[in-house]
């Protein structure tokens, strides 16, 4: 068997056994997997579609608030309904700005999406009676297919395995998508949109599709996040959230399959440590800034490339074999 397959099976076995080993390890891995879905989604827009976004918090938040609002106002707790609904909500939020995202680039694009997501942030704060304002919304009575979770433990376990399964599924689908004509069109639209036009294709169409898929995945992970915490607040929509998602992808490796997962685990793990350790909260932004600056300086193509290189070195000149 190829070493890559052995490694994948070992990782999967490790992931499945984590909840039975340690509660803390499960919590860290739980958020690792949730943000893996976010980062894989973001990577579709940025890594494959070439759209630098500082506004994906809006889509993550749209998913989270779908759970929060449905729960608060309609008493809805059925995840089998809420999760697909949150994806739809994220797409709906992304739809008005998608044409802009597909046509602009660089600073204009980043600014447009930043402004767009901050509109939602301000809106959620202003519509306090509906959205809970800065206090947020507490979520209760979550269930899946009619089975109501008896305690946090059971809920956490379910979200953990759901996120794990969805991460694997997302990975599989992205790999498949990249192999299709549509997937190659997205890459081509990133590389040379003008050439696509001279082949008779409007590149904005591929970019828009990539952007909406990306938003849907961020929406889904936002809903998982809200369900795991049983809480949402406006911080999820703040631009720093978009920045953190971007940093996960850059840290792990832009435009790679596994890089975003790596980035998501490391950064959400760090965030977990800082959130659960007293008196270090004020260092979060400082730490994040240092990590990103160091990554761009020492491993500009992301950590995953450094790992591949190290693996190739260890295995000697045989090398290769990684996708």
């Amino acid at each position: 068997m190829r070493p890559a397959i052995v490694l994948a099976v070992a990782m999967l076995a490790l992931a499945v056994s984590v909840p039975f080993v340690s509660q803390t390890a499960m919590l860290i891995a739980l958020f690792g997997f949730i943000f893996s879905i976010t980062a894989i989604g973001y990577n579709i827009a940025y890594g494959y579609g070439g759209m630098i976004s500082l506004g994906h918090a809006a889509f993550f938040g749209a998913g989270a608030y779908t759970v929060g609002l449905m729960n608060r106002h309609l008493g809805m707790g059925e995840l089998a309904v809420l999760l697909p609904l949150s994806m739809a909500a994220a797409v709906l939020v992304a739809l008005p700005i998608a044409p802009i995202a597909a046509r602009l680039s660089g600073l204009q694009l980043a600014t447009a999406l930043l402004a767009y997501s901050m509109l939602y942030y301000s809106l959620v704060l202003k519509l306090g009676p509906i959205t809970g304002g800065s206090d947020g919304i507490s979520i209760g009575g979550l269930a899946v297919l009619g089975y109501e979770f008896p305690d946090r433990q059971a809920l956490g376990l379910f979200i953990y395995f759901a996120s794990l399964a969805l991460t694997v599924l997302a990975l599989f689908l992205v790999k498949r998508f990249l192999g299709t004509v549509g997937g190659r069109l997205v890459l081509a639209a990133r590389d040379n949109p003008l050439r696509l036009e001279f082949l008779g294709y409007v590149p904005a169409r591929a970019k828009m599709a990539a952007f909406l898929i990306s938003a849907a995945m961020c929406g889904l992970s936002g809903a998982l996040y809200a369900s795991a915490l049983q809480f949402v607040n406006a911080d999820l929509l703040y631009w720093t959230m978009s920045g953190e998602i971007l940093f996960m992808v850059i840290f792990g490796g832009v435009g790679t399959l596994l890089g975003p997962i790596l980035g998501a685990f490391v950064l959400s793990g760090l965030r977990f440590y800082i959130a659960t350790t007293p008196d270090v909260g004020i260092y979060w932004q400082l730490a994040l800034g240092v990590i990103i600056a160091a990554t761009i300086y020492s491993a500009p193509r992301g950590l995953i490339h450094s790992i591949y290189r190290a693996a190739t070195l260890i295995r000697g000149s045989k090398g290769g074999g990684h996708g």
Partner: protein
């Protein structure tokens, strides 16, 4: 004489104070191989840009297969079969040579977006072989030489089954030995497929060898339009081209 595939009538274009095209009138019949020659800045590329609808004319009209292109943009023109290559190769650098070609094939054939790109592998490989590029199928453009990139650029336009194919200096930056090879393959395949071909070219030896008609341009105007054998009779042409 058969109906013209492409006809331009009284085409004029100015950029600021510079006249890029001055009342240009030309046509090409189906299957014709014509070359545009002229010094730098004589309006050759502008003419190709206007015909491919990337640049709008100030005056005049472009008629493609009996239809005015006044309201047609470059995307639509490409869909209608006006394809081109570029002086600086325009490729998808994250895709392999094979995938570059396969994508062009997919767009031309309207292949479903959900279809795997590999389903076009054989056809794309075949196209690359035709241009003696088969061994480069799995290379990405950054790993290829300038000449190889130029050919790939041409192959991408070629597989789109063009009704009019325009090549902007296909042999610039290529060694003299390779120039003849490239041009030979291009002309041979164009003839085989009956493609109407308009080529911008600096090397007059190539032009004399392959052109059925030559368009000599100078300061935006056509100073000669006709078969290459009569070209050297015109004093104006000799003056413009320095021959």
């Amino acid at each position: 004489m058969a109906e013209a595939v492409i006809r331009v009538e009284g085409l004029s274009k100015r950029f600021g104070g510079i006249t890029a095209l001055n009342n240009v009138t030309l046509d090409m019949r189906r299957g014709e191989v014509a070359f545009i020659v002229g010094p730098n800045g004589s309006g050759k590329t502008t003419l190709v840009n206007v015909i491919s609808r990337y640049v709008r004319e100030d005056a005049g009209d472009v008629i493609f297969e009996g239809r005015s292109l006044k309201r047609v943009n470059h995307v639509r023109a490409a869909q209608m079969g006006i394809l081109r290559s570029f002086q600086h190769p325009q490729l998808f650098h994250g895709l392999t040579a094979l995938e570059n070609v396969a994508l062009s094939l997919a767009l031309r054939n309207g292949t479903p977006r959900a279809a795997r790109i590999d389903s076009l592998r054989d056809k794309a490989q075949e196209a690359l072989e035709t241009f003696q590029m088969g061994h480069l199928a799995d290379k990405r453009p950054p790993e290829m030489s300038h000449g190889e990139r130029k050919i790939l650029d041409i192959v991408m336009a070629f597989v789109g089954r063009p009704r009019l194919l325009m090549l902007d200096e296909p042999t610039s930056g290529v060694s003299t030995a390779d120039k003849w090879g490239i041009m030979d393959i291009v002309i041979r395949n164009a003839k085989k497929e009956g493609i109407t071909l308009l080529v911008i070219e600096h090397d007059l030896d190539l032009v004399f060898e392959y052109a059925e008609n030559v368009i000599v341009m100078f300061q935006g105007s056509v100073v000669y339009w006709g078969p290459p054998r009569n070209m050297a009779n015109s004093e104006r042409v000799r003056e413009v081209l320095g021959i």
